[in-house]
Amino acid sequence: MKKTQAYKSVAFFVERLRCSFPPRRSEAKPGRLTSLGCVINNVSRLTQPIRAAKPQPILRFFYLCDLCVLCGKSRYIGTVAKSLVKGSKNQFHFPGGVHPPDYKALTKDCAIAAGPLPKQVAVLLSQHIGAQCKPLVNKGVPVQAGQMIGKADAFVSAPVHSPVKGKVKEIALQSHAVLGRCLAVVIDVDTEGNSPLIPPADFSNDFDENAYSTEQILNAVADAGIVGMGGAGFPTRIKIDPEPPKETLIINGCECEPFITCDYRLMLERPNAVTTGIKLIRKAAGCKRTVIAIEDNKPRAIEAMQQALKNARGCEDIEVMPLKTMYPQGGERQLIKAVLDKFVPTGGIPPAIGILVSNVATAVAIAEAVTQNKPLTHRALTVTGHAIKQPGNFYVPIGTSVAELIEFCGGLTEKGAKVVMGGPMTGIAIGDLTSPITKTTGSITILTKKQIGRAKHEKRQTACIRCGRCIQACPENLNPTKIAHAVMHNMLETAQDYYMSACIECGCCSYVCPANIELAGYIKTGKALLVKQKKK
């Protein structure tokens, strides 16, 4: 009895230590003599419940003392030394990364509620990576909810559907967060005949995917116009194709961006929809192993998914893997590294090494599309930020304008200074509030003047002091300052020498830079310039 207690208290100290020292880059290589964080990982397996405890930075000094005490106890020297030499085998990490405050408490407990029924929707014809859709309707034509209004001609493309019953007002250019301007079908919403926007209920847990053939699933996904809903917007039909063969399916429930909570709510409220989607993807793509990856700052979601898997039919082999809370854990390449300890080759895509990564929201959309024949016309999204009166998670029709959503949430407080489509780390600041939301918009974040005042561009950019913080934060092990300075001086070839194209634009480098240099911005500019140069 005493022994276990002693062990637990020691393990608790160790756990506190682990929390107080974010992983350093050396930790990424198991099997080597590594830094503090790694020692601790082995022991910490026993202390799952304590993981939630987040220490104050002031306490770090005391934790250091803890370790000294710990090392002084001869019984544990073996454990510590072993883990020092062997490294941790049970959890891998990507190199670098940052730990921004997550602000998820704002909307964490807001159930996904019915969103506004807009007066007008603008369905963009390009909401995905790939070719733009061809409009199928003309001005003045009435459309039904769920009717296909944009057809995908090319291989890499996805159709778009009308989310509402109404009349096509015009087909015109609308602001697009990524492309700037894009053709959109603008629909005036009928006052009558539109179904209420109640979020759909959860699925039952005894779904049998064998009722559907692979062909059926693939066609349903293609027809429903499903794209990766995590942000990239790659057409899912191509992704879940059985060719090339995929060994592992990773369901991405990390949601590492600060503020966003819609995927978290989905996992809590509709875990069976997620498992149904997983079963369908697994069936279509022929994956043998399935892992649901969730960051360990969402213990309730982990629990909900584990429970759902236990109850669902044929899900025994699906594994829920809690991952360390670290930005950008939800980045595809970083996630694969963390789950499987494999790195996707630079310039390659995950299927090249037999891996399929899919977002939880996408899984739910697939489940709906296949079983209920429902096209992707609505999505759950988070309207959040400290400058909005009533933040929350909502189920909204795609094409609703940002302004309408903000109004629905009670408008802005005076502090509002920046409207971001997506999270604060990778989201795009929009200047035109009439911009419609798309299939890939996970959140609308409204930041206050104070918050952005601390961001780089508000302050004067000073000289780079070569402190190397950006290098240590870079999850792709690049040299951001070198690349950014090369771009600044229009030396794209030098930038490319330092592997500019390998940048995943996560923004960690800008986040940590003490000289207020907009490193990620420069690198993005450089990549755009490079594309332009190649076209010439």
Binding site: R25, S26, P100, P258, K337, F343, V344, P345, T346, G347, A403, I406, G411, G416, A417, K418, V419, P424, M425, T426, G427, A429, I430, L433, L447, Q451, I452, R454, A455, K456, H457, R460, T462, A463, C464, I465, R466, C467, R469, I471, P475, E476, N477, L478, N479, K482, Y499, S501, A502, E505, S510, V512, C513, P514, A515, N516, E518, A520, G521, K524
Partner: protein
């Protein structure tokens, strides 16, 4: 709704970190050795440090005005000139004349930093550049070591006291008494000078090993801020905890210096001082924690940092054991600064996913 919306590239939030905070941390870290210096050298420490800091800051301001920078005053706020001033003051002897310290500071900032384009562009550590300048110009003053005020007796010397002092005019004879503000202070040779002497005479190095405690605490003659290894260690640990510096460079410097000193010591412990005494004496600790870790003049990758640190440690020991100077920190740092761009190129990072295919 919104009167004005900001549109900028992501990310839209950031860590509260600035160059001023980084440099401010270094200043706080340097306060520990400053306290030690005040204890051992009394008013010398205060006047010399104040002089160097003020003249560094004024020089930077003047240079900014000459360059017609629109933010001349604002850029002083990054505190880098203050750090340079403190380190320069710490690396000259306590009784160093004020006017010479002013000249050194002006050189450090104007020639060491500003001609290259200011903060972030300098090749050499400004403080070390300034020190090199005063060493070359005022050699005698730079080797007039004052005995700490806490001990008023002679330092333990090897056997007969004759012949163990440095050969400069100022220290010939038994202790040239200087009378500063109310204290009796004597000049004496440093442990490293004794070590040099032992190497020259090929004997009596063993007797020096008894100084380890005094050298660790700082109760020996030496540069103003370099004597107390303990205070420097505390300051360094402070910086490490604050994550202002990385462990790599300090570790590399101290380890390689230790290894090289140990090799010499193992060859003949009658001629060469013990490696532990070598570590705690001279400027090795301030170099490891405060000088070599200057981010601007050190490599940016971890591999580069290790090579840099090993180079600094090895060169220091080479100068101490074989070279003509008793202490070699300054020249080894300057030499390694010169090869830093090469180290950076040598240690180019490969992306985490491996090099992309060449066909692109």
């Amino acid at each position: 709704m919104l009167s004005e919306i900001k549109v900028t590239p992501a990310p839209h939030i950031s860590q509260a970190l600035s160059t001023r905070r980084v440099m401010g941390d270094v200043c706080i870290g340097l306060m520990f050795p400053f306290i030690a210096a005040c204890y051992y050298f009394r008013w010398y420490a205060v006047t010399l440090t104040a002089t160097c800091v003020v003249s560094c800051v004024v020089t930077e301001l003047v240079c900014n005005l000459l360059r017609k920078k629109d933010n001349s005053l604002e850029s002083l706020g990054d505190l880098s000139a203050v750090v340079t001033g403190i380190i320069l003051a710490f690396s000259v002897p306590p009784a160093f004349p004020i006017w010479a310290a002013v000249i050194g500071s002006i050189f450090a900032i104007a020639i060491g930093k500003m001609v290259f384009g200011g903060l972030g562009c300098n090749i050499f550590n400004p403080a070390m550049a300034g020190r090199a300048f005063v060493t070359a110009s005022f050699g005698i003053m730079m080797t007039t070591w004052t005995v700490p005020a806490t001990i008023n007796h002679e330092m333990p010397t090897i056997g007969a006291t004759e012949g163990v002092y440095t050969t400069t005019e100022a220290t010939k004879g038994t202790g040239k008494a200087v009378k500063p503000i109310g204290y009796d202070v004597r000049t004496e040779a440093t442990p490293l000078a004794h070590s040099k002497e032992a190497i020259k005479n090929k004997s009596k190095a063993k007797a020096l090993n008894g100084q380890i405690k005094a050298a660790f605490l700082g109760e020996v003659g030496g540069c103003l801020g370099e004597t107390s290894a303990l205070a420097l260690l505390i300051g360094g640990v402070f910086l490490l905890i604050r994550k202002t510096i990385d462990i790599h460079i300090p570790l590399a410097v101290l380890l390689s210096a230790f290894v090289f000193a140990a090799i010499a010591w193992l060859i003949d412990d009658n001629v060469y001082m013990s490696p532990v005494v070598h570590l705690v004496s001279g400027g090795l600790f301030i170099c490891a924690f405060f000088i070599a870790t200057d981010p601007v003049t050190a490599p940016i990758t971890i591999k580069g940092m290790w090579l840099f640190g090993i180079g600094v440690g090895a060169l220091t020991m080479l100068i101490r054991i074989i070279g003509g100077y008793p202490g070699g920190v300054m020249y080894s740092v300057l030499l390694m600064n010169a090869v830093t761009p090469m180290l950076d190129r040598l240690c180019k990072l490969t992306p985490a996913g491996g090099k992309p295919n060449a066909k692109r």
